[in-house]
Amino acid sequence: MNDRGRSMRELRVLATMLGHAGPIDAMVERYAAVTADEGEIERGRGDRGLQLAALRRGGIPARMASVWAARFDRHGPLRRREALALALLECLPESMDSVDRCSDGGPGAAWPRFLWWGLCEVLLLLAALPVFGCARLFGDPS
């Protein structure tokens, strides 16, 4: 996959994870430019390569990688790509319907959602621990 294709793929997965369903074409150049500046993945951090591989795969692996990065690699390349994607999405006119969306159900509706998200986060972390933990300890299996 070439750089643009890889950026497109990563950005599409990130946009989906962040709740954006619209077009992302306008952001790809910027995303590719910033991630190209990031340089090579640091050696000796096998989980970082795996995090990015999981991101390109999308779906549950990408979410597992995101949960892992939030706990154990907060300043790593995946986390930086996520923040970048969020920043790019926030600039779009439709951001109020996606990343900036606020619900209107009041506190009664908010608390069950918090509990559900918290439960999902814990389950994903439990699944991510052995996979990314091994990669961190023993190298990059990807």
């Binding site: 962040l18 920043a87 209107d104």
Partner: protein, 538 residues
């Protein structure tokens, strides 16, 4: 040019000083680097509308070179950057290299200076806070009113009057959003109980118009404050400067970086040495020099001038700044509520907490910043980015940010000095700052009190989320050449005049003898009026 009054710098105090003189028909020359930012686009659109209309929204919000993009970085002290439209305010100048310890300095070479990026807080100092100053509130209060009438300040005579004197010229306060209105309603119900804790709350006093004023229009809550008010509702010194440019007697000269002044043997400043945009050195004669370049830049000019006279070892002690603590909180009654895009983005409410004595008064400003960029904030939440974003969406309307200001007092070890550069290189400004030993206990005490008070107002402030900003981040610098009745040679008399040079005045923060826990800009403007009236118009 044949001398006259020369003002260096176009910040809030310089513009106020010049405006006062020009209003009385006195000529003024203003020397300034004078960088300008972009003009606001689509000034009548709110934020969602602006996003729709902009040809390149990414360049507008993140910058053409992504200069406002904040990505996760280890050991980062600040977690919010400046928006692209404000980059010109803080961009460095190669003629003013700075080296600092314990201090994160910000300097401005913009037309309008540092207050181009202020949030408009206009809180007068009270009598107790002026203890140790060589003049009392009676000299400042009428000037607070005069400044308010000239630039437009909104606010109310409410409980905050306990800590902030009420002056004339106030416009009605700006409209509260639902979040702020709920907090204030809760406070009003519990006022007596909170008063026993020495706590008060009230409407923010802001240099923001609630009524139209000439070509400036009242705040229409477009939600674009962070990128610069497109309607001119929020006063910035460049608005005052633009009003002065073209008036008889006002000669504005941008593109001048002032290196030093030249004095004769009798202790009188006779000229200013400045570099123009081409780097050429010029000597500009002056009869009276008024420094308004900002505390740090003015100190550098002063020290460089002394060094040129052979006084190379002079240091200026007593540098001060307001330590600031950011305390995010959640108003539980607002959880999951509908988002109001139309709201004023900075401080709608202000709080005062008396911990025992004038200088232990702590001032909090409640900000909502609903339309700020989320990505720097969301990346600090302890969840995956997707969950953090959804979580933030649910909490967004309920979130508030309490910006707590702490006072500072002068200590000789907090000093400014100049280090000569290598041949041809500009001298380096050295800044040393150490907080007092009791600072951690003082901050903890205030944080605990505010946390309890917020809880009684139905809001939670998680302990781990509070953020202590680095010293220097508030940009309320003061105290390097304090005004005193009797004091050191490198200081000022009560009229703001240098003790070393007869015809040199300072109207910026340099002259403040102490620094109460409030934004100093309003006081600098009032003091600039005072100096103009007492020393130049009397």
């Amino acid at each position: 040019m044949s001398g006259g009054v020369v003002v260096v710098g176009s910040g809030a105090s310089g513009v106020a000083f010049a405006a006062r003189l020009v209003a009385e028909g006195r000529p003024v020359v203003m020397l300034d680097v004078g960088r300008r930012g972009p003009r606001p686009q689509h000034p009548d659109l709110d934020l969602p509308g602006l996003k729709r209309e902009l040809a390149d929204p990414h360049a507008h919000f993140l910058g053409t070179a992504n200069e406002s993009l904040i990505l996760p970085v280890e050991d980062e002290d600040e977690y919010y950057g400046f928006p692209p439209d404000k980059q010109h305010v803080f961009s460095a100048h190669d003629r003013l290299p700075v080296s600092s310890r314990g201090f994160t300095p910000l300097l401005s070479f913009a037309a309008g200076g540092l207050a181009e990026a202020w949030t408009g807080g206009s809180y007068p100092f009270n009598e107790a806070e002026l203890e140790g100053w060589p003049f009392g509130l009676d000299e400042l209060l009428p000037r607070y009113g005069a400044v308010a009438r000239d630039i437009g300040i909104s606010g109310a005579d409410d409980d905050l009057a306990r800590f902030m004197p009420v002056h004339d010229g106030l416009q009605a306060p700006i409209e509260l959003d639902r979040h702020a209105a709920l907090l204030l309603a809760d406070y009003e119900r519990k006022r007596d109980r909170l008063a026993r804790r020495n706590f008060v709350m009230g409407r923010a006093r802001l240099a923001v118009l609630s009524e139209d004023r000439g070509d400036r229009r009242a705040c229409d809550r477009l939600g674009r404050c962070l990128w610069g008010c497109p309607r001119g509702s929020l006063y910035t010194p460049s608005i005052g400067l633009d009003r002065l440019i073209g008036r008889d007697g006002f000669d504005y000269r941008p593109g001048h970086f002032v290196e030093r002044f030249v004095a004769d043997e009798g202790g009188r400043v006779r000229a200013i040495v400045a570099r123009d945009e081409g780097g050429r050195e010029r000597e500009i004669p002056c009869d009276r020099l008024v420094m308004a370049a900002g505390t740090l830049a003015s100190a550098r000019i002063y020290l460089a001038s002394l060094a040129a006279q052979g006084l190379r070892d002079v240091e200026l002690g007593g540098l001060m700044d307001n330590r600031q603590m950011l305390m995010p909180f959640v108003n539980l009654k607002m959880l999951g509520r509908r988002y109001e895009a139309k709201s004023y983005q900075y401080h709608q409410l202000a709080m005062g907490l008396d911990l025992g004595g004038a200088m232990d008064y702590v001032h909090g400003l409640v900000t909502t910043l609903k339309t700020a960029m989320l990505h720097p904030v969301v990346q600090n939440l302890p969840f995956s980015m997707g969950t953090s974003t959804r979580f933030f969406g649910e909490m967004h309307t309920a979130l508030g940010l309490l910006n707590v200001n702490f006072s500072d007092s002068p200590r000789p070890e907090n000093r400014l000095a100049l280090e000569e550069g290598r041949a041809g290189a500009a001298p380096r400004l050295l800044i040393d700052y150490r907080p007092t030993a009791d600072e951690p206990a003082r901050l903890r005490r205030a944080a605990t009190s505010f946390r309890k008070i917020l809880r009684s107002l139905g809001a939670l402030a998680p302990k781990g989320m509070s953020h202590l900003r680095p010293m220097g981040a508030s940009v309320h610098y003061a105290g390097s050449l304090p005004m005193t009745t009797r004091g050191p040679e490198d200081g000022l008399d009560p009229e703001g005049r240098s003790r070393r040079f007869d015809n040199l005045w300072f109207v910026d923060g340099s002259g403040l003898p102490t620094l109460p826990a409030k934004n100093l800009t309003f006081t600098l403007m009032a003091n600039a009026y005072r100096v103009a009236e007492r020393s130049f118009l009397a």
